[in-house]
Symmetry: C2
Subunit: 655 residues, 2 copies
C-alpha cells in the first residue's frame, strides 16, 4: 500500500494552517487508510507523518480510532461521508480526492472528530470549479514586477526567467491548497507577456513538472494563453477564430499539451481587455473567440475560462454617457447561448474592479444559458495590499449569498464556479501579511461550501494556525470586522477608487477623477456620487432584474453602503441610517482610525502566544496600517470639508 511522504516545508517557510499542532488529534490515534491510487497515497503519507509526530499509528488491521476508506464508486468523486460508530470515526469516499477532503475535514474537527455521537453526514462541494489564478510572470515585468498585483514577494513558481529547479515550495503550497479543497490553479498571469506565452509550447516540459507537483493534491493546472499565440508563436498571418489554420494551430497545440499533461485543466483568457489581443482584431466576437479555444480543449475534457473583464480603458472623463460599470453586461449578455459548454465566463464579482464595496455584477443574473464563474481577489489589490489586516471572507460570503432576483437562487447557486486571484508569493509567510493567510484559507472553504459562516471559517483558521487556545478570542476580534474597518477607512458609500493611480495604495481622492479609467466620483462643492439611474443617469440600474433594478434606482431604497455607487446626492442628503452623507464620511473615517488603533492594542496583547516572528511582522504592519488610517482619515475628511464647507457635527479636528 503506497504512501507519498508529506512534502517537507522548506527552511524558514511558515507552515500556515498546517503546523504539526494542527494534526495532533489525528496523529495521536490509531488510523487505517484503505484503498489505492495517488491521492490515497497522499492521505496515507499525511497519516504516517502525523502519527509519527504525535504518537499514534498507521495500521492496516485491528480496531482503529479513524478509518479512512476509499470505496468502490466514482473515482473522480470529491464528496465524502463521515460517521461515528462507537469509538470509531470513519470517512468514506469513492475517489481519492474525496478521501483527501475527508482527511482534512477530520483535521479541522480536531479532538471533536473523536468524541460524542453524531449522525452520518455527507459532505460534497457546492460546485466543481474552485480555482486560484496566479498573476505570476516568468520574467520580472519592468512595471508590474514578477507577480502582478502581488504583495508577497516574487513567484513561488518562477525565478531567474524560468520555472524553478527546486519545486519543494510548490509542493508545500499544493498541500495547503489540497487541504482546503482548491482543485484548479492557473500558473501564469492573465496579461500574457512574451516568455509566458511560451509555457504553452516550448516551455511545456516545465509545466509538466508543475502539474506533477499539484496532481497528488487533487489540483489540476491551467495556463493563461495569449489570443495572439497563433501569430506570435505559430507564425500564422492571423488570429481569426474562424480561420481554419488558426483552429488547427490551437487544436494541435492543445493536443500536445494533453499528450504531456492528461489531466490539464484548460486555458484562462483575458481577451480584448486593457490592451490584450482578442477576437475583435478579426471582427469576431467573444463567443467566437472563446469557442475557438473551447473546441480545441473539448476532446480532452478541458475548459476555457474566458474573462468578462472587458471595458473601454481609454474613456474620456468628460463623457458622462459612458459607464464602465455597464461594460461587461453590454458586451456579454447579447452572447448568452452562444458559448460552448466547456466555456466558463469568468465574471468579476462587481461591475467595476474588486473595490472594497461594489454591488454584485448584474451579469450573474443575465446569462442563464452560459456557465459562469465568479471571480474574487484574494490578493488585496484595493484592500490594503497585504500590509493591512482585511479579512475578506465576509465580503465574498455576502456576494455569494446575494439573490439577484430577490428570491430564487443566490449567486452561489447560479455560478458554476468560483475563481480568485492568489495572494501567495515567495515571502516566508506566503502572503506577506501573516494574517492574510486566512483569506486564502477562507476562499478555499467558501468555494467548497458558501453557506459556511465567515466567522466560523475564521475560527477554523485560527484554531489550526495557532496552537494556543487563548489566541482565538483576541485574534477573532482583530480580524472579524476588518473588512468593514477597511471600508470605513477608505472610500465611503460605494464610491471606490480614491487611490493613487497605478499602484492603488494609499489615498488620493481625486487620483482617478480626470483619467481614462472610467472610475469617477464627481464630487463638487454641492455633492458626490455617480448617477447610474435610469431616470437621470447612465441607466446601469436597468441591468438588474427586479427587485434590485428598482431598489437601486431610488435614493430612498438604495442601501446606504452603495448609495454613491448609484446616485449623486447633496452632502446634506440623509442616509437610511439617519445621518447625512458628509457626516457619514467624517464619522466613518474617525471610527475606522480608532478601530485600527484598537486592533493594534488587541494584537499587542498576543505577544508570547503566537510565534515571535509572526508577532513581530504583524506588529510592524499594524504600525503601517495605523499610519495609513491616519492619512485616509485626514485626507478624505479634509478633501470633503474643503469642498463642502460643512463642519463636523462633533467638532473633531479636520485639517
Amino acid at each position: 500500500m503506497s504512501a507519498t511522504p508529506v512534502a517537507p516545508l522548506p527552511d524558514g517557510v511558515d507552515p500556515a494552517w498546517l503546523p504539526p499542532s494542527a494534526l495532533r488529534a489525528l496523529g495521536a490515534r490509531r488510523v487505517r487508510v484503505s484503498g489505492e491510487g495517488p491521492l490515497v497515497a497522499t492521505v496515507r503519507g499525511e497519516v504516517a507523518a502525523a502519527t509519527a509526530e504525535h504518537g499514534g499509528s498507521l495500521v492496516t488491521e485491528g480496531p482503529v480510532d479513524l478509518a479512512l476508506v476509499c470505496a468502490p464508486g466514482d473515482p473522480d468523486g470529491e464528496a465524502f461521508v463521515v460517521r461515528r460508530d462507537g469509538t470509531t470515526t470513519s470517512v468514506t469516499a469513492t475517489g481519492g480526492a474525496g478521501l483527501l477532503h475527508g482527511l482534512h475535514h477530520v483535521v479541522r474537527l480536531g479532538e471533536a472528530a473523536f468524541s460524542g455521537r453524531w449522525e452520518p453526514r455527507r459532505h460534497a462541494p457546492r460546485r466543481a470549479i474552485r480555482m486560484l489564478d496566479h498573476w505570476d510572470n516568468v520574467d520580472v515585468h519592468p512595471v508590474m514586477g514578477q507577480v502582478e498585483r502581488g504583495y508577497a514577494g516574487g513567484s513561488i513558481f518562477y525565478a531567474d526567467g524560468a520555472v524553478r529547479a527546486d519545486l519543494g515550495r510548490v509542493a508545500a503550497y499544493a498541500r495547503l491548497l489540497g487541504s482546503i479543497g482548491i482543485n484548479r490553479v492557473c500558473l501564469n498571469n492573465v496579461n500574457v507577456h512574451r516568455t509566458e506565452a511560451r509555457l504553452l509550447t516550448d516551455l511545456l516540459p516545465d509545466v509538466v513538472r508543475l502539474a506533477g507537483v499539484f496532481r497528488p493534491q487533487g489540483v489540476r493546472v491551467h495556463l493563461s494563453v495569449s489570443f495572439a499565440a497563433p501569430m506570435t508563436l505559430g507564425g500564422l498571418p492571423t488570429t481569426d477564430p474562424l480561420d481554419r489554420g488558426v483552429q488547427e494551430w490551437w487544436a494541435s497545440t492543445t493536443a500536445a499539451v494533453y499528450a504531456a499533461i492528461p489531466d490539464f485543466g484548460g486555458y484562462v483568457v483575458k481577451a480584448d481587455s486593457e490592451g490584450q489581443p482578442g477576437p475583435f482584431a478579426s471582427g469576431r466576437d467573444h463567443a467566437d473567440g472563446a469557442n475557438l479555444l473551447a473546441r480545441a480543449l473539448a476532446p480532452f475534457g478541458g475548459t476555457v475560462f474566458w474573462r468578462a473583464f472587458v471595458y473601454d480603458h481609454r474613456q474620456d472623463w468628460r463623457d458622462r454617457s459612458t459607464d464602465r460599470a455597464r461594460a461587461a453586461h453590454d458586451h456579454f449578455t447579447p452572447l448568452d447561448g452562444g458559448f460552448d459548454e466547456n466555456v466558463v465566463l469568468q465574471v468579476k464579482f462587481g461591475p467595476v474592479d474588486f473595490q472594497v464595496r461594489e454591488p454584485v455584477s448584474p451579469v450573474v443574473a443575465a446569462m442563464p444559458r452560459t456557465r459562469l464563474a465568479v471571480e474574487f481577489q484574494v490578493t488585496q489589490e484595493y484592500t490594503g495590499q497585504q500590509k493591512h489586516v482585511c479579512y475578506l471572507v465576509p465580503q465574498w460570503s455576502e456576494v455569494l449569498g446575494f439573490r439577484p432576483h430577490g428570491d430564487g437562487d443566490a449567486v452561489a447557486e447560479i455560478a458554476h464556479g468560483v475563481v480568485a486571484v492568489s495572494n501567495v508569493g515567495d515571502d516566508p509567510f506566503w502572503t506577506g501579511h501573516p494574517l492574510a493567510q486566512a483569506n486564502l484559507f477562507g476562499f478555499g472553504r467558501l468555494a467548497w461550501d458558501d453557506r459556511l459562516a465567515p466567522e466560523a471559517v475564521l475560527d477554523e483558521w485560527i484554531g489550526l494556525t495557532f496552537a494556543d487556545p487563548a489566541v482565538r478570542a483576541p485574534l477573532h476580534e482583530v480580524m472579524d470586522g476588518s473588512w468593514l474597518t477597511y471600508e470605513r477607512c477608505t472610500a465611503p458609500l460605494g464610491v471606490g477608487f480614491m487611490v493613487r493611480p497605478g499602484h492603488h495604495y494609499g489615498p488620493d481622492v481625486d487620483g482617478y477623477e480626470y483619467t481614462q479609467w472610467g472610475t469617477y466620483h464627481f464630487a463638487d462643492r454641492d455633492g458626490v456620487g455617480v448617477d447610474r439611474t435610469r431616470a437621470t443617469g447612465t441607466g446601469f440600474t436597468g441591468q438588474y432584474p427586479a427587485p434590485w433594478r428598482d431598489l437601486y434606482e431610488s435614493v430612498r431604497t438604495c442601501p446606504d453602503e452603495l448609495l454613491l455607487f448609484f446616485h449623486h446626492v447633496p452632502y446634506g442628503h440623509v442616509l437610511r441610517s439617519g445621518t447625512t452623507v458628509i457626516q457619514h464620511v467624517y464619522d466613518t473615517h474617525f471610527a475606522g482610525h480608532e478601530e485600527v488603533a484598537r486592533t493594534a492594542r488587541t494584537w499587542g496583547a498576543l505577544r508570547g502566544r503566537v510565534p515571535d516572528r509572526t508577532f513581530d511582522r504583524v506588529t510592524e504592519l499594524l504600525a503601517e496600517q495605523l499610519r495609513c488610517a491616519t492619512e485616509w482619515r485626514d485626507q478624505v475628511n479634509t478633501y470633503f470639508w474643503r469642498k463642502s464647507g460643512v463642519p463636523d457635527e462633533r467638532g473633531r479636528r479636520i485639517w
Copy 2:
C-alpha cells in the same frame, strides 16, 4: 600653424545652430588666423572648414576680409575686441577662448560682419561661470532612467554602463557649447549612484578622455561627487568633514584627479537633500561640508558648487507652519561668511523647484559674503518636457534682471555664475523637441550677457539654424510667447505643482496636495493659494529685503502672476488686471488652448521651409501639446468650477 579639424557630425545627427549655412558669410571670405595654442587651432580649423565649404580661403598673408588675432596678454582671457577698418573686420583677443568667442560672434553677425562702419567694441562675458550640469547616470536608473529628468533619450556620454568608446557625438556637442560661450560642464547627475561615484576614482581615465574632448572648445569638466565617498569608495569609518582622515582622503583623491586633468573644474555636490548624504550625519553644517571639498580643490584652482536645494522632503501636509519656500534661506543665510572663496553656492532661481512661475529666490539677496550661482533648468522638467514648445529665455532674463533691493544690483550682477541643467540627450535632434535647441542656445547667450533681449537671442538662433529667411517671422511667433502660453495652460497665478507626482507631466490639480513634498495650493470651496505673509502666513515674505517684502506682503501690491504664491484669496478676489481669480483661471486656460492651436497652424505653414524631418517631428509634438492643452484646460477649469461653483462669465464649456 596648427589647425584642429572640425569634429564631423555623426550620421543622422542634427547640426542644431551650426549647419554649414550658418558659416556661409565667413566661409566666403579671405580670413587670417594669427596666434598659437589649442583654442586658436580650433578657430583655425573652423575657418579652414568654412572657407573650404563656401569658397573663401584661409590665408597667412596679404589683405583679408577677416583677421582673427590672438595677441599678447592674458592667455586665459575670454574677452575679445571687434573692429572694422576699411574693408577688414578684425577680432582681437589675448586668449584662445576669447578668439573662439570672437569667431562665433562673427558667425552670428553673418553678412553684417562684413559691411558698414562701426566703432570698435570690446565683448567680455558678464561672469566667469557659465555652466551646464548634466543629470546623466552611467547606469540606467530603474526609476529615473539614464538621464534624470531627461527628455531627449539616453546620455551622450554613457552607454552600456560605461563612458562611450566613440566620443564623436560629444565632440560635436562640445563645439556647440563652445560656440555659445559655455565654459564649464558637469558630467554626471547630482544624485550620485554607485557606479557614478567611481568616476572620481577608478573610472577616472574615462573622465580624462571626456575632458580631452571638451578642452579644445574652452570647456572645463566637473564631476558630481557623493559626500559619502570617503566611506563608500575610501573605506573610511566616517565622512565627518572635520576628521583628518576624511580631509586627507579628499585631498589625495583630488590631487589624483588634477594629476590626470590639470584644468579640471571642480565638484558639484547635492548634500543632505532628498536623501543624498551630507555633513549632517556628522553633526556638521553645510559650510563645514563645502569647505572640506573646497580645501581639497584650492591648491589646483578648483571650485566646489554646493547646491542650496535643501528642504524637508518628508513634510506633513497638515503642518501649515513649515514652508518649503523658506528652506534654502533658513538653512544657508546663517552660514554667510563661512564659506571658503572657492565655494560657489548654487541656488535654484526660485524658492521651490523650477516651476513655470516663481518669485526669485530670496537667498540671492541675503548672502553678500558668499559667491553664488543661480541655477536654471534648460531641461523642461515642469515646462512641457520637450514635448511642448516653451522658449524659456524670457523667464531666465526676467530672473536675472530682477532687482532684489528695488534699485541697486540685479540678480545678474549679484551672482558670480549661472548654471543650468542640460536638456541634451542622444536624440538625433539633441533635445527631443527640435525647437528646444533654442533654450540651450539661449542659455549660453544669456549666461554670457544677460542684457541681451530674449527675442533678439531667439532671432539669432532662428537665423543660424534655418537658412530660409522666410522662416524667421512665423517661427518667432511660434516661440516668442510660448513660455507665457505654457503658464496660461498650466498652473495659474504662481500656484505651481498641479502635475502628476513623480513624472511631472500632465495635469493633476490635487496631485501634490496631500503629499510629503511641501507643494500645496490649499484650494477649497472659497478660495485658493498659499498664505506666505508675515501677518497671517508662513512669513516667507520677510525673507525679502524692501521693497519686495512689502510689495509681496499686500494683496493690493503683489504682482498678479505671483498672487497665489504669496496669498490665499477668495475666488472672487479682483486682480490688479481687473478680473477675478476664478475668471482669470478660466480665461487663461481657454486662451492658452487657443494659443497652442494657433501655434500649430502657424507652424503648419512652414512645411518645405524647414527640413522635412524637423517639420515632421515638431508637427507631431504640437499635436501632443494641443492634446495636453485640452486636458489642462478642461481639468483645471472643471476642478475649480466644481470647487467654486462660479460659472464662466462668458458661458464657455466647462465639464
